[in-house]
């Protein structure tokens, strides 16, 4: 449906999009995720036609639209600050695209009502945007963007101007509406929860380049590189050197950290001596009774409790490791069994839960 092929865009010396390529299938919701300034908005603006790429090609529905004007593309847009026309009523805002995209005049009022029904704003059609709340304005904007049945819908941080509770409600609702309409959608956000909550596929960008494309689970549990792993969620990181081949099991290997820890991890296919970033999500660590014997695929780590923060649904426990590093464990915040500060605890990590990534910038032999 939407194809972005090798698109590059410079602003002076900055590369806002660097050989960006991806496709979005009919009816798919994809999220563009990345830190501020990584080129998310630029990518959307290139697709919408507000910017011309220096090179590369953009195709919508099989048609090459690279050189066309924004109004010649059938793209619906949702902006962070709604961008409703302040001098037009809700009705006229929603009808705007219909009038310009040549809908039969007689059908426009019905279409407008249907769209306002879809976003649950019946009865507000004679209001001016200034008389609506932020959430209502963004609903109008959504109705306006979807009214003309655009081939692609682009949302640029559509919820970031709303407060947390409303943001969550509207996120669920927008997702539902986009699904029911069957829109081919790209949603830009730097909020990973928003990205994971709305999209089936996430494109992670850094400095104008795509670093990984995958499902929310792929991105979270199987990050392709240290940047993605670090950007999405929290984790505990170590640097480990691969021991020689063998070690008893064909599927396991041992990485030795700088501090001399031996970590049992799922075997990376690197040669002996290669250096890896090894990380584990805090919720995958488990506090076990002291003195337990580790299974072949387990690593036991002993540390002193530095801090315990009960954060509602979960409890964050920070440990100090004997060698000086820290380790964060997240466990469900049940009433029982919070270790006290200063206590020594044993933590278990399973081999399959470690993220093992070749050191960036070093030839890892992979």
């Amino acid at each position: 449906m939407l194809e972005v092929r090798n698109v590059t865009k410079h602003f002076g010396a900055t590369v806002a999009a660097d050989a960006v390529s991806f496709t979005v299938a009919q009816g798919e919701i994809v999220s563009l995720l990345g830190p501020s300034g990584c080129g998310k908005t630029t990518t959307l603006r290139l697709i919408a036609g507000f910017e011309r790429p220096d090179s590369g090609e953009i195709r919508i529905g099989g048609r090459d639209v690279t050189g066309t004007r924004p109004y010649e593309r059938n793209v619906g847009l949702l902006f962070q600050h709604y961008a409703l026309f302040p001098h037009m009523t809700v009705r006229d805002n929603v009808a705007y695209g219909l009038r310009h995209r040549g809908w039969p005049k007689a059908e426009i009022p019905d279409r407008v009502s249907a769209m306002l029904g879809l976003v649950k704003l019946q009865g507000l059609d004679a209001r001016l945007p200034a008389k609506l709340s932020g959430g209502q304005q963004q609903r109008v904007a959504l109705a306006r963007a979807l009214a003309t049945e655009p081939a692609v819908v682009l949302l640029d941080e559509p919820l970031s101007a709303l407060d947390a509770k409303l943001r969550h409600e509207l996120r669920v609702e927008i997702k539902e509406i986009l699904r029911s309409v069957g829109s081919t959608t790209i949603i830009v956000t730097h909020d990973q929860e928003e990205a994971m909550g709305m999209a089936a596929r996430i494109i992670v960008m850094e400095k104008g380049r795509i670093r990984q494309v995958g499902s929310p689970d792929d991105i979270y549990w199987r990050p392709g590189n240290r940047f993605v792993a670090g950007f999405v969620g929290r984790s505990n990181w170590f640097v480990g050197r691969a021991a020689g081949a063998g070690g008893g099991s064909p599927t396991l290997s041992t990485l030795t950290t700088e501090d001399g820890f031996e970590l049992r991890v799922a075997a990376p296919n690197g040669r002996a001596g290669a250096i890896y970033d090894v990380g584990i999500r805090p919720e995958r660590l488990e506090i076990v009774s002291p003195g337990a014997a580790p299974a072949a695929d387990e690593t036991l780590i002993v540390g002193t409790v530095l801090d315990v923060s009960p954060l509602g649904a979960e409890r964050h426990i920070v440990l100090r490791l004997p060698a000086g590093g820290q380790l964060t464990v997240i466990q469900p915040n049940r009433a029982a069994a919070a270790p006290g500060t200063g206590e020594t605890v044993t933590v278990r990590a399973r081999a399959a839960d470690w993220m093992v990534l070749p050191r960036e910038g070093e030839s890892s032999g992979v």
Binding site: A48, G49, F50, R69, P70, Y71, R73, V75, G76, L77, F79, H81, A83, L84, F85, P86, H87, Y96, G97, H100, R101, G102, R144, T148
Partner: protein, 283 residues
């Protein structure tokens, strides 16, 4: 370091206090300076004596206002003033929009240069404008007073309308224009349906301000009047030279009242400071 700083603190506080005291006094003085002549004129306009006597007047009357409103010479001036200013401002507003439209399309460098050029009359003394225009218009054979006045007032008002229009157009949120074009509106329709309606208040405000400037002008108009076409301020000045009476005070009060009215309307529309600010700092 810190030991050296602390004794200076009370001293600095005293200096701050003095400075704010001085600036307060300056504000009051400026206020008086601007208002006293106006107050005196106001008093004189209601003077019941038929000669120029010491202030304050012993009693008040509306005789000067009556004299002003029944003076055919001055009334002719008022009519001409209203017609000249209205015509000039309408043309200037249209020219302002057209120019701003054009400037919006050329590259920013050119746009800046041209803007500076179009607002340059603001820094040329009005007397020079009036005299130069008089010479030029006689050269090309335009001797009709009304036309000459309109030409002069165009030069006076165009800088204001252009600047107001440019500022208002630039003030329209760019994402609105992008939203419109993503909804299928081409550049022309985006301009007429979104940009222009949203900039209109600012454009009108600029025109009203330009009108007030035009109504008050003496320096340029003086050169361009003829026996039948003369503006009210010019008529007042020449009247005063011929025989000093207080009609001029009454007329001034009415002009002030009229200007205040315009400014109130303007303030309702956008806020005076915006228009004043953008009018008084060319380029």
């Amino acid at each position: 370091m810190s030991a050296g700083l602390s004794p200076s603190r009370p001293w600095r506080r005293r200096l701050d206090g003095m400075l704010s005291g001085i600036s307060g006094a300056v504000v009051v003085l400026a206020f008086l300076f601007l208002l006293v002549p106006l107050g005196i004129t106001g008093l004189m306009a209601f003077d019941s004596r038929s000669y120029l006597g010491p202030l304050p007047p012993p009693s008040f009357s509306l005789q000067w206002f009556e004299r002003f409103l029944s003076d055919p010479y001055l009334m002719q001036g008022l009519r001409t003033s209203l017609m000249v200013s209205t015509t000039a401002v309408l043309i200037a507003a249209a020219a302002g929009v057209a120019t701003a439209l054009f400037l919006n399309r050329v590259s920013p460098r050119w746009s800046e240069l041209l803007t500076a050029f179009f607002v340059s009359p603001l820094i040329v003394p009005p007397v020079v404008i009036g005299f130069a225009l008089l010479l030029f218009l006689s050269q090309v054979g335009i001797v009709e007073g009304f036309v000459r006045l309109v030409c002069g007032h165009l030069i006076l008002t165009i800088p204001y309308t252009i600047r107001a229009t440019l500022a208002s157009l630039a003030g329209v949120d760019r994402t609105l224009l992008e939203a419109a074009s993503s909804l299928g509106a081409n550049e022309r329709r985006v301009f007429w349906e979104i940009t222009f309606p949203l900039a209109r208040t600012g454009i009108v405000a600029g025109a009203i301000f330009a009108f007030a400037i035009s109504m008050d002008d003496v320096a340029v108009s003086m050169f361009l009047t003829d026996a039948t076409s003369y503006t009210l301020p010019v008529a007042l000045v020449s009247n005063m030279r011929a025989n000093f009476d207080l009609t001029i005070a009454a007329a001034s009060m009415l002009l002030v009242l009229f200007t205040i009215l315009l400014i109130v309307v303007l303030d309702r529309l956008v806020g005076v400071d915006r228009v004043m600010g953008q009018g008084l700092h060319p380029a």
